[in-house]
Amino acid sequence: MDNEKTYWGENLRLIFICLTIWFVVSYGFGLLLVEPLNTIRLGGYKLGFWFAQQGSIYTFVGLVFWYSAKMNQLDKKYNVEE
């Protein structure tokens, strides 16, 4: 039972980390900080604009795969896999 509680705790921590990154790239870089970031260029893109229309989406994809891989490890570590 304790084993399952720690597993859930680690899962929550992982979700918290992922959602923080999720928030920072989209709402942070793409919306709230868009003006200062737009002074930096990424080729023809203004950086803030790039995060809003490209970068945040790539980060989302990475996050979902990273979370899924991490969870598979946790499942094994706590012996709760299917």
Binding site: Y7, L19, G43, G44, Q54, V64, Y67
Partner: protein, 578 residues
């Protein structure tokens, strides 16, 4: 018959033949196959099917056009409709899959041990899905009438017939395999014109990179800088910084779309079709990859189409296109009424500027940006033919997913779950096929006679999903103590406040003249537009639920144990009815 029309017929009816073939091969024989495709879809297949299920006529036809005219403001759709999958992958999908039931209302019933909760969920699901379907049906009719010059009504009947064959015969199993085929069709149809256009404008074949490259006209100017310059010269807002209604509105809009995405039942349902929790997590990842393929190309399509359109009308500053010399595509789209020119100053040339008084392009429909884009860029006819098949694939695949959500909510949750618990599996299967046929007829009827409020309904669908379904599911998983009473109170107040806000600004049931506060910026709560209000509804839902929980006591012990079990993957079986 000209070459273009011949190619279009081949593309459209060729893809239909494929869908029929798959439908025959994947007939459903049991309720498990009908509701969850037997539960043995692989994550990769499921990811593709989710992609097609999710990307509707709106994503395929309208989104790039919206971005084209909104510029940076259009980012809310890009981030909102992809970021929701992060929430889905981490907060809902794995646990719902572990619980292993057929439908979303069934999960709500088990978790909140309440028939009221199940009925509330069914009602939200049906309203959200039906409003969404109207748009798909209209998309089918429009695609037929514009590309094949078939009557809108006839086009819609053909579309209804095609969906009927594979959705009613195959249920989730048939829908899943056709959606995989439809995903391939739609992604090819979307990216190939974009690759051509990106090559023409920038010399880079990858649209995502082309958007950030210099123009290939030898000027060395970046495409986006050029676009900013051209639009501001004409008096429009700067493309890369135009923020739709301010930062707070964009923030709330994006969050509402994300939460709404994660709460849409026809998407959640797809996670019941995979065999394990691990596979549910993986399919969210694959789904997001397949969706991102289109969503990262869309901003390139939007920006490039805008530049091409402006360049056609005013190739060199001050030298406007003479109306009598306009290209063929211009004439074609004028016939449909989506483009309209009015020679206000009588000089026989076209002036397209932001100022309404002197602007002579009195109508430029947003949808043209995708539909006419290949023609504007002079692409070969087979590419234009592909766009027709792609638009139809996008509309049909989404319609099928929504129809299944509706029919399973009625046959499985209302009939079997509440009214006739001793319905046999065979009768339930028959009932769900009849219900689905009826749902096709109703949505076809609504597509033929779109209610006056059709334009406002997408906001309502996302608002309902965001303010009722998502919070109920999330609290069900992350708060063990959450009780049925508290959850129902939360759902009802979340929907209540969202509907009230939408109605007070858009009219009661969207009837013009019945809004008690005008639909204008100054009347909006902190400047949040009704479309962006779902997130406020969700916050109300969470708050009310926790306050009621404080006063009415927590969920019984066996429910708390159920939640604990949901949180660990161990012991998951295939999805089952009881």
């Amino acid at each position: 018959m000209d070459e273009l029309k011949l190619y279009t017929y081949i593309a459209v009816f060729g893809t239909f033949a494929v869908y029929f073939g798959i439908a025959w091969w994947a007939r459903a024989g049991s309720t498990s196959e009908f509701y969850v495709a037997g539960g043995d879809i692989t994550p990769l297949q499921n990811g593709m099917a989710i992609g097609a299920d999710w990307m509707s006529a709106a994503s395929f036809i309208s989104m790039a056009g919206l971005i084209s005219f909104l510029g940076y403001g259009g980012s809310v759709f890009l981030m909102g409709w992809t970021g929701g999958y992060v929430l889905l992958a981490m907060l809902l999908a794995p646990y719902l899959r572990k619980h292993g039931k057929f439908t979303v209302p069934e999960f709500i019933f088990d978790r909140y041990y309440s028939k009221t909760a199940r009925v509330v969920a069914v009602v939200c699901l049906i309203i959200a899905s039906l409003t969404y379907i109207i748009g798909q049906m209209k998309g089918v009719g429009v695609a037929f009438s514009r590309f094949l010059e078939v009557d809108y009504d006839l086009g819609l009947y053909i579309g209804m017939g095609v969906v009927w064959v594979y959705a009613v015969l195959g249920g989730m199993k048939g829908i899943t395999y056709t959606q995989i085929a439809q995903y391939c069709v739609l992604i090819f149809a979307y990216t190939i014109p974009a690759v051509f256009i990106s090559l023409q404008l920038t010399g880079n074949p990858i649209p995502q990179l082309g958007l950030g490259s210099t123009l290939s006209d030898g000027s060395g100017v970046y495409l986006l800088d050029k676009l900013d310059m051209v639009v501001t010269d004409l008096g429009f807002n700067e493309y890369t910084t135009d923020n739709m209604g301010g930062t707070l509105n964009m923030f709330a809009y994006t969050l509402s779309l994300m939460i709404g995405t994660a709460g849409l039942p026809h998407v959640i349902m797809r996670f019941f079709t995979v065999p394990t929790v691990k596979a549910a997590r993986a399919s969210a990842g694959y789904a997001l990859v397949f969706i991102s393929l289109l969503y990262t190309v869309a901003p390139a399509v939007g920006a490039m189409a805008r530049l091409n359109l402006l360049n056609t009308i005013e190739p060199v500053a001050g030298q406007n296109l003479v109306y009598a010399e306009r290209p063929q595509w211009f004439k074609d789209w004028e016939k449909t009424g989506l483009l309209k020119f009015e020679d206000k100053n009588g000089d026989g040339k076209i002036q397209y500027v932001a100022d309404k008084k002197t602007n002579e392009m009195v109508k430029v429909d947003r949808d043209i940006m995708v539909l006419a884009n290949p023609a504007i860029a002079n692409l070969p006819n087979w590419v234009i033919a592909l766009v027709a098949a792609g638009g139809l694939a996008a509309a049909l695949s989404t319609a099928a997913g929504l129809l299944l959500a509706i029919s399973s909510a009625i046959s499985h949750d209302l009939m079997k779950g509440i009214m006739m618990p001793d319905l046999s599996e065979k009768s339930e299967l028959k009932a769900s096929r009849i219900v689905m046929t009826l749902a096709i007829i109703v949505s076809g009827y609504l597509g033929l006679n779109p209610p006056g409020f059709a334009a406002g309904t997408v906001a309502l669908a996302f608002g309902l999903a965001a303010s009722s379904i998502f919070p109920a599911l999330m609290m069900g998983i992350f708060s063990k103590k959450m009780s049925g009473t508290a959850a129902v109170a939360g759902m009802c107040s979340g929907i209540g406040i969202t509907m009230l806000y939408v109605f007070q600004h858009k009219g009661i049931m969207f009837i013009p003249g019945t809004s008690f506060l005008g639909d204008m910026g100054p009347n909006w709560f902190f400047g949040i537009s009704p479309n962006a209000f779902g997130v406020v509804g969700a916050i109300v839902n969470f708050s009310v639920a926790f306050v009621v929980l404080k006063f009415t006591g927590e969920a019984p012990a066996h429910i708390q144990a159920l939640v604990e079990n949901m949180r660990i993957p161990k012991g998951s079986g295939a999805a089952h009815a009881h």
